[in-house]
């Protein structure tokens, strides 16, 4: 992390500003050495040649899709998801006859949890386990190339240095998207068979939005795992750090938040105000964890009857409009989750930015 390398990354950014596309020229190995004035446009790739990050992303995607970790994770997640949806579908079938006037019954598959159910819902499972996908496809992204001795060879090709990390990130996101689409398709098919109802357009669109949301959420973990792979030379170290962060932020955060909220807003006499204050504190604290952001966004995206995610507002709505359960359109639901959506995007971009900058500042040599 030297001053020179900082200036290097700035130089890279400046070169980038010069635009790669519009400039055409012959492949350099056929042309004579040019004067200095001509050499600047040479930074561009020849017309019709894919950008470096695309080449890297294509190769990494192929690697990912043929890897054992891809097969294992897809199978595990599909089994877990199918199990959760089977449980929900069974419960749903028994209550469905009573549920007149419930729109989007199909989507209930994904998050419906009846009282006393043992198996967590599909979305709970995804919020918990999906980060593993991001970690699996990112933890050895950069340090793997280092230890294999391929990184110096890669960056000495005519590509920008950031093409390496950009390509890997894009490939990871694509891999995760493939897995999510596959899982949702399998789960949807199970739902159709079990419930005997077809999703309508609104429900399909909600699922599409949810998949985008899930990819962004897992993208956060992918970016974090890539950061670990930049910072730690050993792939095992990198994996363990990423997994530790996952444990703390998804599993233990609930406990910690409960403890802190109990101190900050204690529920002494159990009055309604105290209970609400405690719940509000808990929620506000847990909003710093990505899994909470994702869970909330999931709820409001998939469940059109959720009108607000704010507890105070929810209480108010309940008091005043108890008898009027209303259904939101997709746009209205999106408005409800917009803060969570933006929050997730910001976290993911932030994590990737940190990984990017750390990678650009690093020396190439091992």
């Amino acid at each position: 992390m030297t001053a020179e390398s900082i200036s290097l990354s700035q130089a890279g950014a400046a070169a980038r500003g010069r635009k790669r596309k519009n400039i055409r020229h012959e492949p350099a190995y056929q042309s004579a050495p040019s004067s200095k004035a001509e050499s600047a446009p040479k930074a561009a790739r020849p017309a019709g040649v894919p950008a470096g990050w695309r080449v890297i992303a294509a190769k990494e995607l192929a690697d990912n899709l043929s890897s054992i970790r891809f097969v294992v994770l897809t199978i595990i997640l599909t089994l877990v998801a199918a199990g959760a949806v089977f449980a929900s579908a069974g419960q749903l079938k028994s209550v469905a006859p009573n549920a007149t006037g419930v729109n989007s019954l199909f989507l209930y598959l994904f998050f419906y949890q009846p009282q006393g159910a043992v198996v967590p819902t599909f979305v709970t499972f995804i919020a918990l386990l999906a980060p593993l996908l991001g970690i699996a496809f990112g933890f050895d992204g950069v340090n793997g190339e280092r230890s294999a001795g391929t990184l110096p060879r890669l960056v000495s090709q005519p590509i920008y240095r950031d093409d390496v990390i950009n390509g890997k990130f894009v490939a990871g996101l694509a891999t995760i998207s493939v897995i999510f689409v596959a899982i949702v398709a399998v789960v949807g098919a199970i739902g159709v068979l079990q419930l005997g109802i077809l999703p309508n357009l609104d429900e399909v669109l909600r699922l599409v939005v949810w998949v985008v949301l899930a990819v962004i959420y897992v993208g956060l973990w992918l970016a974090f795992a890539l950061l670990c792979s930049v910072l730690f030379r050993g792939a095992a170290t990198s994996a363990i750090v990423a997994l530790a962060a996952w444990l703390v932020l998804t599993l233990f955060s609930g406990l910690l938040v409960g403890l802190v909220a109990g101190v900050v807003s204690p529920v002494g006499d159990g009055t309604a105000d105290e209970v609400i204050a405690n719940a509000v504190t808990k929620r506000n604290l847990s909003l710093i964890t990505p899994s909470r952001l994702f869970t909330e966004a999931t709820q409001a995206t998939l469940d059109p009857s959720i009108q607000t995610l704010d507890i105070n507002a929810a209480v108010a709505v309940n008091n005043e409009a108890q008898a009027l359960p209303s259904i939101l359109s997709l746009e209205q639901s999106l408005l409800v989750v917009w803060p969570q959506f933006v929050g997730l995007i910001a976290l993911t971009s932030g994590a990737f930015a940190v990984a990017y900058v750390s990678f650009m500042r690093q020396e190439v040599r091992a």
């Binding site: 190995y29 004579a32 050495p33 040649v49 190769k59 110096p152």
Partner: protein, 333 residues
């Protein structure tokens, strides 16, 4: 376009140096890795950048490729500035890193194809060229095996093919002969010589003087970030001045006659029995007296059947420069 062309296209402006650095310096905090390096490599020549480990060879190479920014000084590669225009430089410079690695799960051919794609070479042109390169480095039969299964020497040869995929005008090789067996070294060196004959400039960084001297047109001795000597091999050794040298001689007896004849040669300081080999005489002289010594022995009726300078020029060079590292082997005054 690929097949008919020469493997390394000659570029216009042959007179331009392929690589030229002026006062190139790289500092890491207080540590100076490369200290005011002035280096010049001509087109079509093999330049050996020789120095012990940690001399700053790799740092220099990374600056030439634009992968590391110089603290001060300038580098010109094919008259381009690698710090400002790294992509254009990297398009024309092939680099074989120290301890080169490949993607083990991919075959040798797939690895080369990936390099071709990164260089924006279209698949058809690349495939023909890759076949040719694999043939040339003797990996045609192994080309569809996973690189995991390759030996170190095979990987090194694949590395040379990989460097050639982009048809570079300059080839930079970092320790290309380290960690491979002697037969492998010979193969690699022969390939390097071939590449240079095709017209590319080759910069060969190594700490193994003996191995690389046979392919280098010029060498630079690089120690602690400084180029302490450079030039053609023979000039370099003569520039070292006249240190005392040792010559092994074996000639038919009588022994006294041999000793007397040798002692008469101008410059010889002592003649003794070689303690390691009783058949040999060890002649010490102030200069290289081999020609005079041979003539004197023939004239005296003892035609020598063995006459060898103990430790060649390179050993001398090594002692002079590299040994500065170890205090007990101080250079003779």
């Amino acid at each position: 376009m690929a097949v008919a062309e020469p493997l390394v296209p000659r570029t216009a402006g042959q007179s331009l140096p392929a690589i030229k650095t002026r006062a190139l310096t790289k500092k890491y905090g207080d540590f100076t890795a490369v200290n005011k390096l002035d280096l010049q490599v001509k087109q079509g020549e093999v330049f050996g950048l020789l120095g012990p480990n940690g001399a700053g060879k790799t740092t220099t190479i990374l600056m030439l490729l634009g992968l590391s920014e110089p603290t001060s000084g300038t580098a010109r590669v094919l008259d381009m500035d690698p710090a400002r225009d790294p992509i254009a430089v990297k398009r024309r410079v092939g680099y074989l890193p120290d301890a080169v690695g490949f993607y083990g799960a991919m075959t040798g051919r797939q690895n080369l194809r990936y390099t071709a794609r990164l260089n924006g070479i279209n698949r058809k042109a690349a495939d023909a060229h890759i076949d040719e390169l694999l043939e040339r480095v003797g990996l045609t039969n192994a080309s569809n095996q996973r690189v995991d299964t390759y030996s170190r020497g095979m990987k090194q040869r694949l590395g040379l093919a990989d460097v050639m995929v982009k048809r570079p005008s300059i080839i930079i090789l970092d320790e290309p002969t380290t960690a491979i067996d002697p037969a492998g070294v010979e193969e690699v060196l022969a390939l390097i010589r071939e590449l240079a004959n095709d017209g590319a400039a080759v910069l060969l960084a190594s700490h193994l003087l003996h191995q690389v001297q046979q392919v280098c047109d010029e060498v630079g001795i690089f120690v602690s970030g400084k180029l302490v000597a450079s030039g053609a091999m023979d000039k370099l050794s003569s520039s070292l001045g006249t240190g005392p040298i040792e010559i092994e001689v074996a000639a038919p007896p009588p022994a006294d006659g041999v000793k007397a004849a040798a002692l008469k040669v101008n410059g010889v300081t002592s003649v003794e029995k070689d303690p390691r080999d009783s058949r040999m005489w060890l002649v010490k002289a102030k200069r290289d007296v081999r020609a005079d010594l041979a003539r004197a022995l023939v004239e005296a009726g003892h035609p020598p059947y063995h006459l060898r300078r103990v430790g060649d020029e390179l050993d001398e060079i090594y002692r002079r420069y590299f040994a500065n590292y170890s205090p007990e082997e101080a250079t003779p005054a």
